[in-house]
Amino acid sequence: MSVKAVLVKLSLSILLITSFASVTAQTVLRIMSSTIVESPEGDVEQAIADAFMAANPDIEIEFIGTPMNDMFQVLTTSAIGGELPDIFTNTAEFSAQAQDLGIAADLNDLFSEDFLAGFYPTAIEEGTVNGELIFLPWFTVPVGVLYRADWFEEAGLAGPQTWDEFVGAAQALTQDTNNDGQNDRWGFAMVGTKNGSGFFRFTHLLRSQGAWELYKDANGNWQSDLGSEGMVNALAIYKELHDAGLVPPGVTETGYGEAVSLMASDKTAMMVTGPHTIGAILAQNPDLEGQIHSVPIPLGVDRSASLGVGGFSVAATSEHKEAAARYLEFLVSTENMLEWNRVTGRMPAQIEAGEQPQISGPVYAGFVEAIQISKPMPQATFYTQIQEVMGEAYQAVLVGGVSPADAAAEAGVTAAAIIADAE
């Protein structure tokens, strides 16, 4: 081949490449995600996006990583400034706000009924506000009780099914293991901080006592049971666990991270949480592999469970809704959900993926059961305010010397005022 021929060929191919690039004017999808900045979540998410881009060369995905703690602040500011990304992380807690702010497109218009029928109905319900599907469920973090199976077996106990059993087990497992006269192992890693982690866990105790923090009555009006007998009982259980010394010192300082460390460092036997916590505990203490089992939230007068759905919304203002829907459809495949579960411990939002053998065994037993009986979180724009009231109430009982009855009475009054103010 002559030099000239090589040159011609080269220039032709260059021409071809450049024209190809210009023909496929790329759609850039901007995705604001909280998981992309986390490890190991981010790697999986990026790999899925890369696979999608390889299959769809006309679409380029650009992630905007934002930590979950700041997510809704950044999102709201961008929305008000008219700079929303095409896709953004959303959760059941924020879906009512997102609908109220009008920032999320109704996904019923973008996805077929058949496709949406593949998800757990509760997951779709959690994402639906006023008939609009605000976000597409991607994973669930059902809540239950994680417990140290080895210690339970040693003490001849089974996973607690009722709150009485729960308190009994906590009592049996609170021990002075080195006989220095002071307990160095406790029954329950109670999360008593005044933040979402604390509120969420208390909510489940409350609901198991037959009281709902917020719900719509038959007439469609918001009601709260924070002043009811169920609230008094829930607070009394927290108080009993605390006053009997069954939780480690500093309960109002024990947030999610602290509780995980307590479980990992062999300090506590039980924790109310979701399946994602297993991975976090094992990362700090690999010896516990297989020793952590799950049961649903103990029975009071009622069962309590929630899905803890997380997913993605498509912005109402997005100019690439079609492309966004294509990406989300790709993302929520059975295969991706299982990979996501394997790496992060979060469970699938789709029924087919949820029925795979990977999601079974004693580790997941409690959570699988929880999914079946889960109930949705209330979708009110003022829900965070109600949560704050619960937080003040349990902290007042735990460290403020207030009786459960008084704390419940005050919480009831405050909650009623918040509801009245909102309407």
Partner: protein, 306 residues
């Protein structure tokens, strides 16, 4: 008066007048860049804040004009005074603590002590870390089980069992304030040090020859020279820490119960958790006037800074 002298006077006065004008203008030219850039960057956000405080709004789909309803509701709510009071305690503790520590260290560093360059650098270090890192670090040091403090105090037999410093309604606020002092004293120290070094050494030497005690030199030489720096620093620190919320949010989230619930946490939650921007803006406006009032009081009782 002769015409000549009259003219002379006129000439003189007009020249002073022109001179005066020039001096006026020159001064204005010098401050213009600062004034303009601050006006552009700060004026709009400020006015915007006042404006939205009159609405019930989420800033997107709801804009209900409500006159002063937000203010009325805030002032009639039971928690408001409590929150302001907690914020005041927090601010006074933080500002006074930083001031005492910062000034003391500056005075110590302003001597011919060996290794002072090293001390100066080391003592500035807390300031180099972002607020969130400082808060998380201290949160773990306060932790009853994993924390450094309990470990040290137990070893020294100061306490007999693990104490939850951030978990008790009595110790939470002082513990938060201690963290804030640690984070914030280096700025005070730096400014005081720079101020101290601008005082000529001869003043002290002649005072010493006159037999003045350390305290007398401090009161008669150091204090007047530092006064302006101190005053402005106090006022500004006061303004800053009254509004600060990052450290408290990480350490206690305003708890336990409401022991550390400062007003800026309230604003943050009202705005970005409840999305009630009108009410949040009204709270912000109230904070604005409170810190303004405090600055006026400083001016009135501690004297001017200029």
């Amino acid at each position: 008066m002769t015409l000549e002298s009259k003219q002379a006077i006129q000439k003189k006065s007009s020249s002073t007048h022109r001179h005066f004008n020039q001096r006026q203008l020159a001064g204005l030219w010098f401050i213009l860049p600062a004034a303009l850039s601050l006006l552009v960057i700060v004026a709009y956000p400020l006015l915007y804040g006042f404006y939205i405080s009159l609405f019930r709004t989420n800033l997107l789909t709801r804009w209900d004009f409500r006159w002063f309803q937000n203010y009325v509701r805030i002032f009639t709510s039971a928690d408001f005074l409590q929150t302001v009071f907690t914020t005041l305690k927090f601010t006074v503790g933080a500002v006074a603590g930083q001031f005492v520590v910062g000034l003391s260290l500056a005075l110590l560093l302003n001597t011919k002590v060996p290794g002072r360059a090293l001390f100066r650098t080391v003592l500035l270090v807390p300031w180099l870390f972002p607020e969130v890192v400082v808060a998380l670090l201290w949160k773990w040091m306060y932790n009853p089980l994993y924390g450094l403090f309990n470990d040290i105090l137990l070893t020294l037999n100061v306490i007999s069992e693990p104490t939850s410093w951030l978990g008790s309604t009595t110790t939470a606020l002082p513990s938060v304030i201690l963290t804030v002092i640690w984070k914030g004293y280096p700025l005070v120290m730096l400014l005081m040090l720079a101020g101290l070094q601008a005082i000529s050494q001869e003043q002290y030497e002649s005072a010493e020859i006159d037999g003045a005690s350390w305290w007398q030199s401090f009161v008669y030489i150091t204090q007047p020279n530092l006064r302006k720096v101190i005053m402005f620093n106090l006022k500004l620190n006061n303004v800053w820490w009254f509004k600060n919320f990052g450290i408290v949010l990480v350490l206690t989230q305003g708890g336990p119960i409401n022991a550390t619930s400062v007003i800026s946490i309230d604003i943050y939650k009202t705005a970005f958790e409840a999305f009630r921007f009108g009410r949040a803006a009204a709270l912000a406006v109230i904070v604005f006037f409170i810190v303004f009032l405090i600055s006026v009081l400083y001016q009135r009782f501690l004297g001017g800074d200029d």
